[in-house]
């Protein structure tokens, strides 16, 4: 019999004195493509990183590429996080830097980044183009890395991995930030790889997956447990929300006929490239909106205007909280009224802040904490930390935590001041299904105070119940503005 491709025995992993994985064993044979799912923070990422030999570990991990194959005999790991460097090899970028135009370019273009990757790995440039087309990336070759959105960075990672076509490909939450067409095409591309001899290990909680996935597992009690198929929805318990900390009830936002946001023919362009075209949109206090559209349709740019992160807000006819933008308000006065979470906010967040500092910084809209919040706010933070089940991690640095836990802390930061406008741009990235359901319920509860909500999510099934309206963008234009209830009755 041929040796297994991956053979793991007695694998152990600890996080802060707690055993996460305990004497775990896993054998991956030729022809097997695994899906690993389950709640976040249970050691999946560390396990696959050990397979890719990226972290030190206790236990044996043996890799055998013993079949004759024309594919490179490597394990390639696509992280759930992305990273890029400037021309000097540093990655000291700041939040929303991509919107502040500075002529001197500090990062490579996508094209030269890919060429460099191809040369390093001796790849044929002709095989790249179909991948770019499938993921809708051709038009970005001239863009610089700093200009890419988080979804586009994710795609760039995937493009490299697929182009490389390694014998073993590990994908950790690859669907984060991808729209549904891109997900479908990614799955087809992955199936093609498998056809050519690549084996997959996929970490995901999504119901869609490549059809070549033929083994399923989850981690339970620190061990790998094989399951018949993907273990979701069956076990999802509709556990009632524990009561929100009472300080959330102190603020009620009255409904009103006047608008909170009003955009009149709003345009954003970079040189000849139009990113938003004649956007007209009104949001009234208390409304709950879903903002949707494929990757690159302009969602993040639209939100960056509202969050006072985009300099072109000053060139547009656009009212926020009743004032024409650029009529003497400071961005901090605007941010004070908004609770924001977005993939980029997460990416650029101070990684050396503790969970507690991160959550408290929500009172001040800062990345990291710069002042003593005082007694009341401390108490509120503690209550919220408890609510999110983060008590054990209160003093842990963000960069020591798995993605899902970091995300929970930042969600706490987003809501802690109970703002009148919540902007949730793919808030549940990195969370497992249980946590997603839970968080959306929390949002439903919070929004009963009259909060206005704008929620970006690619899938209807992952929206909170309170959503009542929808705006859909495509190519920078408003495609649809409608009431969701109506939309349902249409179909």
């Amino acid at each position: 019999m041929k040796k297994p491709v991956v053979h793991i025995t007695n694998f152990n992993l600890k996080f802060q004195d707690k055993s996460v994985l305990k004497d775990l064993c896993w054998t991956i044979n030729i022809g097997e493509n695994w899906l690993l799912s389950g709640e976040s923070g249970n050691g999946k990422t560390s396990l696959v990183k050990a397979i890719a030999n990226l972290i030190p570990h206790y236990g044996t991990v043996k890799i055998n590429f013993n079949t004759p194959s024309h594919l490179p005999a490597v394990v390639h790991y696509v992280s759930n996080w992305y990273q890029f460097k400037d021309l000097e090899g540093q990655s000291n970028f700041y939040y929303q830097q991509r919107y502040n135009k500075q002529v001197a370019s500090t990062t490579n273009s996508v094209g030269s980044e890919l060429r460099h990757f191809g040369q390093q790995n001796h790849l044929n440039i002709d095989t790249l183009n179909p991948i770019l087309v499938a993921l809708g990336f051709e038009h970005l070759l001239a863009a610089t890395l700093i200009e890419l959105s988080s979804g586009e960075h994710k795609k760039l990672q995937l493009i490299k991995a697929i182009w490389l076509k390694p014998q073993l490909l590990i994908l950790d939450l690859p669907y984060n930030g991808l729209d549904s067409a891109s997900r479908r095409n990614l799955n087809l591309l992955l199936d093609d790889l498998v056809e050519d001899g690549t084996q997959l290990i996929l970490i995901s909680n999504e119901s869609e997956m490549p059809s070549s996935i033929n083994r399923f597992a989850k981690i339970e009690g620190g061990k790998l447990v094989e399951t018949a198929e993907m273990q979701h929805s069956i076990n999802l318990y509709t556990e009632a929300l524990i009561p929100l900390p009472s300080f959330f009830e102190e603020k009620q936002w009255p409904a009103s006929k006047s608008h909170l946001i009003k955009m009149i023919d709003v345009n954003v362009s970079y040189g000849d490239k139009k990113v938003l075209k004649n956007i007209n949109w009104e949001v009234k206090p208390g409304e709950k909106w879903a903002l949707q559209g494929p990757n690159g349709s302009g969602k993040s740019t639209l939100l960056s205007l509202i969050c006072a992160d985009h300099p072109q807000a000053f060139a547009n006819n656009f009212y926020l909280f009743g004032n024409l933008r650029g009529s003497g308000e400071s961005i901090w006065e605007i941010k004070e009224r908004i609770g924001l979470i977005s993939p980029e906010l997460h990416w650029y967040f101070d990684p050396t802040a503790t969970v507690w500092q991160s959550i408290v910084s929500g009172f001040y809209d800062s990345s990291g904490l710069f002042c003593d919040p005082g007694y009341t706010k401390r108490l509120q933070a503690d209550e919220l930390i408890h609510f999110f089940g983060l008590d054990d991690y209160k003093n842990t640095l963000m960069n020591q935590l798995p993605l899902g836990k970091q995300r929970l802390a930042l969600l706490g930061r987003t809501i802690i001041k109970n703002p009148e406008l919540l902007i949730l741009d793919e808030p549940c990235q990195g969370l497992d299904q249980q946590q997603t359901i839970h968080f959306n319920k929390l949002i439903d509860e919070l929004c009963k105070n009259g909060t206005t909500l704008i929620y970006v999510g690619h899938f209807e099934s992952q929206l909170p119940d309170c959503i009542e309206k929808r705006i859909v963008l495509e190519n920078g234009e408003v495609q649809v503005i409608e009431d969701i209830l109506e939309a349902v009755s249409h179909t």
Binding site: E88, G89, Q90, S91, N92, Y94, Y95, Q96, Q97, N100, K101, Q102, V103, A104, Y270, A308, P311, Q312, F314, A315, G328, E329, S330, I331, W332, E333, D350, P351, T352, S361, Y364, D365, S366, S367, G368, L369, F370, C371
Partner: protein, 493 residues
């Protein structure tokens, strides 16, 4: 024009040098009000111009840019920077007459030309602002008597000014009002409002004077900040290569080493930096830094003397008039050093390794910071100012070396700093040649602790610790750093 400082009687010289007041946050409760609704016109859209302007506008102020006609006509980078961020841009004639505050953020070398072009266009009673006082103090430019002249000088590169603002913080800032030009007494209020607009008020503001800012700024940048970091980097690299250490490793150690080492300095002063060493290494670093201080003291004093007397500016301006002959020659020479030309090797160097294998740099930094601080204070500059211009700025400059070695450092700093840096470097290298002969790879390139048993004498260690901790720069630093409670930790490459 006469050097302004030299026209002052001694009493007034000391008076202005000694202006130094660390401002309480309650001084900024009026926010940006003193500038609200006023027309702010920035001249120049480079590193400081663009980033300060973005912050001021985001703070609710009315900001536009004026550029020299050629920059607008040929759509130069400065024009693009401004227009692509949706700022209004116009010629001097179009915008200066409407301005309540004209903010001069052109290179210092151009100030005489720029100020003489814009001053006649400025409206009666307007304000002229600078981010560095060279033009007023060293060139002695006289400003129309109806105009208010202020300074708001962020103690960081422009990109940091923006990055820190966006994350909800700011960078430490010096502000000043020129005593010859405050006809309406509004200068201080405007400078404070400006400082709130750039976010500086959150990170600590020092009320200074044009004179104190210039004399201390020049001293800091020439000696510890740029001069000694350059000299130390080049000597360290050459020593390692001479002793057979892999050049790629040496290049990486030197390029990133200063950044990692001075990160400790930023968080906890010289004490924290020295505490990163083992006890044996700390004692050694202390001893050689004492030796370095003795060797370099006369050079530091000469720089301070020449700055105070105006001699430094005089010879630099001579070089300006000479088409930058010396500056360009020295710049070329720096570009040709082996350190500059050897790319950092693809080796992993752990954070602690930067301390253990680069004890020499720790000694250089301690010697340079303390000497610069002591020399400034001896010359009448207040300890707070001396702290900002020595210890505080060292990690910021070290960052630029990590980005792209000395070339990047010299590109980012001002022409004045670059000139002073080379001047120092030229004199310092020969001064250290005997010292460097004794240096071996245990101090630079290899782990100092290797092959040593780590035992130290208690009394020696206590004395050394005491000497480090009780230095005045440590005492004042502890107070000032408290105002900058949170500083972004640098990611190590």
């Amino acid at each position: 024009m006469a050097n302004y400082f030299n026209t002052l009687p001694l009493r007034e010289k000391l008076n202005q040098l000694g202006v130094c007041d660390f401002m309480d946050s309650s001084e900024f409760l009026d926010g940006v009000n003193a500038l609200k609704g006023k027309k702010l016109v920035i001249v120049g859209c480079g590193a400081q111009g663009l980033n300060q302007g973005l912050n001021l506008r985001d703070s609710g102020l009315d900001v536009s840019y004026t550029l020299r006609a050629a920059a607008i006509e040929s759509k130069r980078d400065s024009w693009k920077n401004a227009t692509e961020n949706n700022f209004k841009v116009g010629t001097y004639e179009e915008l200066i007459p409407t301005a309540d505050v004209v903010i001069n953020l052109t290179p210092d070398k151009q100030h005489t030309a720029v100020v003489s072009a814009i001053m006649p266009l400025m409206k009666e009673g307007a304000t002229l602002s600078y981010s560095h006082g060279f033009n007023i103090v060293e060139e002695g430019t006289q400003i129309r008597k109806d105009l208010t002249v202020i300074m708001v000088a962020p103690k960081c590169p422009g990109s940091e000014v923006r990055a820190e603002y966006v994350r909800g913080f700011g960078v430490p800032t010096l502000i000043a009002v020129h005593p010859e030009n405050d006809p309406q007494g509004k200068g201080l209020a405007q400078a404070k409002a400006y400082c709130v607009g750039t976010g500086g008020h959150k990170a600590g503001v020092l009320k200074s004077s044009f004179v104190a800012e210039v004399k201390s700024d020049l001293m800091g940048e020439q000696t510890i900040l740029c001069g000694l970091l350059q000299t130390g980097s080049i000597l360290s690299f050459d020593k390692m290569v001479e002793k057979g250490i892999n050049a790629g490793y040496a290049s990486k150690l030197v390029q990133y080493g200063v950044e990692v080492i001075t990160e400790a300095l930023k968080q906890g002063g010289i004490t924290a930096m020295m505490d990163r060493l083992s006890n044996v290494a700390k004692i050694k670093a202390f001893e050689i830094s004492e030796e370095l201080k003795d060797i370099m003291r006369p050079l530091f004093q000469k720089h301070q003397d020449d700055i105070m007397s105006g001699e430094f500016s005089r010879i630099m301006m001579e070089d300006w008039a000479n088409g930058d002959k010396n500056l360009l020659a020295w710049r070329a020479e720096t570009g040709e050093t082996a350190f500059e030309k050897t790319p950092a090797g693809d080796v992993k160097i752990g954070e602690q390794e930067y301390f253990d294998n680069y004890t020499l740099m720790v000694a250089f930094v301690r010697a340079g910071v303390e000497l610069a601080f002591e020399t400034m204070v001896d010359a009448g500059i207040k300890p707070e100012s001396a702290y900002y211009e020595s210890l505080h700025e060292t990690p910021l400059i070290a960052n630029t070396i990590a980005r792209k070695k000395l070339f990047e450092m010299n590109r980012v700093i001002s022409d004045t700093a670059e000139y002073g840096c080379y001047l120092f470097d030229q004199a310092c290298k020969p001064l250290l040649s005997d010292f460097m002969k004794k240096v071996d790879t245990d101090l630079v390139g290899k782990n100092f602790n290797e092959g040593k048993d780590g035992a130290v004498d208690n009394r020696t260690l206590i004395e050394v610790n005491e000497a480090i901790r009780s230095h005045q720069v440590e005492q004042i630093g502890a107070t000032l750093r408290k105002a900058m409670t949170a500083m972004k930790a640098i990611k190590t490459a």
